[in-house]
Every structure is written in C-alpha cells, then in structure tokens.
C-alpha cells in the first residue's frame, strides 16, 4: 500500500496541471494547497490571485478565507473584487479551481440548493460566491472533488456555475466569453476531460488502485472513455514532503 491518502493524491495530480508562468484564481482548502504545491515544486512563476483582492502573495500558510491577511502576505497588490474579476474577464487568467455539491456530465456545478422550492429549499448552500464569475471568465476551469454517484449527478438540481451547459455549442451560444470552459475534473479515482464535440465528460486517466469500472460505478451518468486511458502517476516523495512539511504541516486539508 502506497504511503499517501486520497486528498494528497488529488492535490498532487491537480498541481501538475498548473504550468510555470500561468495565472490562477483559487479558493481556500485543497485548491489553495494545489496552487502552492505547483509554485514550490515546478512552477515558481505561477501567479496566484484571490477573488477578494489579494494578488501574487508569498502565501506563508493556508488561508482560512479568500480575504484574510494570508492572501496579501508579501503580495504585489492588495486590491478589490472588481480588480480581480475584471482581470479574469479581460482574459488574463488561465485557471480556476471550483467545486460543488453536484456536478453533471457537462461540468455544470450546483452550490446553491437541494430541493425543488427555491424560496424554501430542503438544503441551502452558499450560492455562487465568485464561482459563476470565475467559471465564466477564466480560460480553464478545474474541479477537484471526491467521486461518488450522488455528487456526479445525471442532472444538477440547480445550475449555479456554468460548465458546458447542455453540451455541443450551447455555451458559446449563451453569450459567455468564447473559448473558456471546464477543462479537467480530478477525483480520488480518475482524471476526466471533456470530449471536444459533445462536451461530455470523458475518462482520460485512472488513479493507481482503481479501474475504469470503479470510476463508472461511482458516477451517476455514463462517462465517455478516451481512446487511450493512462494510469496516473502517484505522488512523488518530493511532492509529499513539500505538501506535508511546508504547505500543510497541521494537516488541515490533507487530513490524517
């Protein structure tokens, strides 16, 4: 048995997506850990921004809020929400990490409610926050989430944040900025992308210890499969030591 947990695996896999010189808007928790890991491991020039206004900090420890002082620690700029979101809307931001209670085959996300009555929901979640904005504006949306068939749902009960909407060219027709959209979905079991024509979710790699069948069995809709499905590489000793010793020594995000 390899010596890492699923959260560590997801964070390391996600970090490898972020190339040197790219820009990213992140939230708290695992996405923040992935961006910090990328910066320390292989992308020293990754520009990290926070929607509340923090720009290019030297993050000393993981923030609790995307607006707390850690997001401006030795930063290049302490700005505001319009500054960050408009930098995204202008086309300067390559990546963002988002998540939700539900995700469908087109990468649409629900973080608003469960239950049919909008004014009296069964479960009320926070809503969009900046997620809808970032998914609309940033070139590539990444999702990092544990996989189960409830979360990977046939239909989102509420589309808070746009993925490829109803697939095909529906997103381009909606009026959202052209060329931006969901890019990769990173779970504890696999990495998925989106088939270019239909924009449906597609398995491109499975994690060590999982099969394509495991991935499909833990998904509420039919997944497409890439011609060649690779086995994803486990975290390296170097990645794990950076993650455990420098980024999350108190194991808030990576857990025990």
């Amino acid at each position: 048995m390899a010596d890492y947990n699923t959260m560590e695996l997801m964070i390391c896999t996600a970090a490898r997506e972020l190339e040197d010189g790219a820009s990213i808007v992140v939230g708290t928790g695992a996405p923040n850990a992935a961006a910090m890991l990328a910066q320390k491991a292989h992308s020293p020039n990754l520009v990290i921004l926070f929607e509340a206004g923090g720009a290019a900090p030297l993050i000393p420890e993981m923030p609790i809020s995307v607006g707390d002082s850690r997001t401006t620690w030795k930063a290049l700029m302490a700005s505001g929400m319009c500054e960050i979101m408009e930098t995204c809307c202008r086309g300067m931001i390559d990546y963002t990490f988002l998540g939700g209670a539900q995700i469908d085959m087109y990468g649409n996300l629900n973080s608003t409610r469960i239950g049919p009555d909008h004014q009296k929901p069964k479960v009320r979640f926070p809503g969009s926050g900046g997620a809808n904005d970032l998914a609309s504006f940033c070139w590539r949306m990444l999702v990092m989430t544990p996989q189960d068939s409830k979360r990977f749902a046939e239909k989102c009960q509420f589309i808070t944040t746009p993925g490829w909407l109803t697939g095909g060219d529906s997103r381009a027709k909606s009026g959202l900025p052209r060329g931006a959209g969901p890019y990769k979905i990173i779970t504890n079991m696999a990495v998925m992308d989106f088939e270019p024509e239909s924009k449906r979710m597609r398995i491109i790699g499975v994690n060590p210890g999982y099969s394509e069948k495991d991935v499909q069995d833990n998904c509420g809709f039919e997944l497409l499969k890439a011609k060649k499905i690779v086995e994803n590489k486990p975290p390296t000793a170097r990645e794990l030591s950076i993650l455990r010793d420098e980024i999350d020594p108190y194991r808030y995000v990576i857990g025990r």
């Binding site: 923090g54 002082s69 004014q119 479960v123 809503g127 809808n132 808070t160």
Partner: protein, 330 residues
C-alpha cells in the same frame, strides 16, 4: 433597449438614477463632526425595513459592532446584500433581522464550514431570495456609485443563477456581444469598518478593498467604524490615502478591534476559536439562545463582548498571529 431574456428574481431596491440623484441632492456636504457611539448611529440611521449592506469580506474587516447593535436593537424586516457575507450573515440571522436577501455568498464561513443556524433560517421559508454572484453585486454597487442604472457583465448567462436573479440579458449596440445588465444597487444604509478616519468621516483603509469604496458611494446613509480616530491635519498632510470622502459618511464611531472576532489587516487575525464556538453552539437552539444572551443581548457594547471572550490577552495573541510572530500558533 429590449432585453433578450430576463430572470424571475426580484429587485429589492430602486435602480433609478434620477431617484437616487434626488436623494443625494439632499445629503449634507457640511464639514462637521459626526462622531457618535455605535448605539446612537444605529438608532439614528438604521430603520426597520431598510436595505442594509455590511462592508468587508465576511470575517475580514467587518463592522461587527454595528451588526451586534442592529441585533441588540431588534431591527426587523430588513433587506440585505449577501455579498460574501459569512460571520456577519451569521450574526444577522441570529437576530432574524432581514426577510429578503440578494444572495452572492451566504450561510457558509468558507473553509470553516456552514452555519447551522443560518441554514435553518434560510430553509425556513421566512426569507425571500434573489440569486446573484460576487462580481454581480460588486458591479451593482459600482453602477450605483457611478450614478447609472446598470452595469454590463459577461457572467451568469445560461445558468439558474441568472434565472433566479433580477437581471436581464441585452446586446451591445456596437459589437452585438451579449451582456447581463446588472441593476444598480443603492442600499438605504451601510456600515464599513476602516483602519482610520477623522471626525468628519474621511477614511483610510489598508489591505484588500473588496467592494467597499463603491458600497460607500452607493449608500444613502453610511456608518463608519474605525480602529482609530486621526486628526484632520493628518488627512490633509497626505490626501492620497483617503479612500472614502466625508460627504459619503453620516456617522463616525471609534471602535478599536471593531472587526473582532474577524480579521483586520495588519492589526489582528481572526479569533478562530471563538468562531468555532459560535458554529458549534448553533447546533443546539437552546444553547445558542444562551450564547446570544451572553455575547450580544446582555452586552453594553463591543468592549464588553471582547472582555467576555478573553479581553486584552486574547487581542494580543491575535496581533501576534496576524504578524506571524514566533509561537503565534499556540
């Protein structure tokens, strides 16, 4: 201009710029002291039914003293801008202060999890909601601050967030590009916590600005709480630091540690222990009632609240933590 599509959500405030201009015409431009207590400011400027905005970012540079005072004075039937509201939202839910909310981010406290009591209140059916996003509310304030009735943005299209909003989709007369027209939001009253202000209300703030400078200009009435009052001479010595001018401001209240238990940039970090206690206690409504009695209703002011939760020793620790001094974690 005709709209291509429109949401079914309500617009809770009047976006008309001429109605706003008529109000701002009557607002005082007199350079006079506006210093008063938080109690007086809330009595004078926050009314039942008003639409309220709180500055900052949930638990960062938030006007906590004003939020507590609004609950203490029992304001009801208010409208509220749920613009990245976290601990502030939790406080207002505890007092069941509002019955309508423009939602961008509510109920949650980011990495800390969801507030059980805020969830109960929002799932009770007592609160009418319109859905928006963080950027949407930012530009709704920006439109109001600019004295226009909407701002075009490229978000929300194709989603249920748009469907349950009060926005409309329009086409650019130059390029044909589609935009979501975000209606201007002029709050009746807002409160913003800053680092420094003079007695007239000229303000300085450090760290991230969120949407506060637009909120200040968009609001009909504005309560400023500040860590420190500073001399007007200091403002005039270097006006480049002034971020909110006095003519936007109706009340200036000196409240050191006014963002506690939230974070204040370059002053003190958030009291995570106390915020955890809030969230934990909320699980049991009976216990939570006692908790509120102790921390809000029986407190004379913000200082009494802080005294009950560790006083100066706690604040010094939070200062160490903000600057990451040695052992600040303990």
């Amino acid at each position: 201009m005709e709209s291509i599509e429109q949401g079914i959500g309500k617009i809770f405030t009047d976006p008309d710029p001429d109605n706003a201009r008529a109000f701002f015409r009557t607002k005082s431009r007199k350079l006079e002291s506006k210093v008063m207590s938080v109690k007086e400011a809330v009595e004078k400027f926050v009314h039942d039914g008003d639409y309220l905005t709180l500055g900052g970012f949930g638990a960062n540079r938030v006007p906590i003293a004003v939020a507590h005072e609004i609950v203490r004075q029992g304001r009801k039937n208010m409208g509220f801008a749920g613009h990245t509201s976290t601990h502030d939202f939790q406080i207002l839910c505890a007092g069941e202060v509002f019955n309508r909310v423009d939602v961008a981010y509510i109920v949650g406290l980011e990495a800390r999890g969801l507030s059980p009591n805020a969830r109960r209140y929002m799932e009770s059916g007592k609160v009418e909601v319109s859905e928006w996003t963080n950027y949407s509310l930012s530009v709704r304030f920006k439109a109001a601050a600019a004295g226009v009735s909407f701002y075009p943005a490229r978000n929300m299209m194709g989603t249920d967030t748009f469907k349950y909003s009060g926005a409309k989709i329009i086409e650019c007369p130059f390029t044909g590009t589609r935009y979501v027209a975000q209606p201007a939001l002029y709050p009746d009253v807002s409160a913003i916590h800053v680092h420094e202000a003079d007695i007239y209300g000229n303000c300085r703030a450090r760290g991230i600005t969120v949407s506060d400078f637009d909120v200040a200009r968009a609001s009909k009435r504005l309560i400023i709480t500040c860590e420190r009052l500073i001399a007007n001479d200091e403002i005039r010595r270097d006006p480049s630091y002034t971020v909110i001018p006095y003519w936007c401001v109706d009340a200036v209240c000196e409240v050191p540690y006014g963002s506690y238990p939230g974070n204040m940039y370059a002053e003190y970090f958030s009291d995570e222990e106390h915020i955890r206690e809030w969230m934990k206690t909320e699980e049991d409504p009976v216990e939570f009632k006692k908790f509120l009695e102790k921390n809000i209703y029986s407190c004379k002011d913000h200082f009494e609240y802080i005294e009950k939760n560790g006083g100066i020793n706690k604040l010094l620790k939070l200062r160490d933590k903000e600057f990451m001094f040695v052992k600040a974690r303990d």
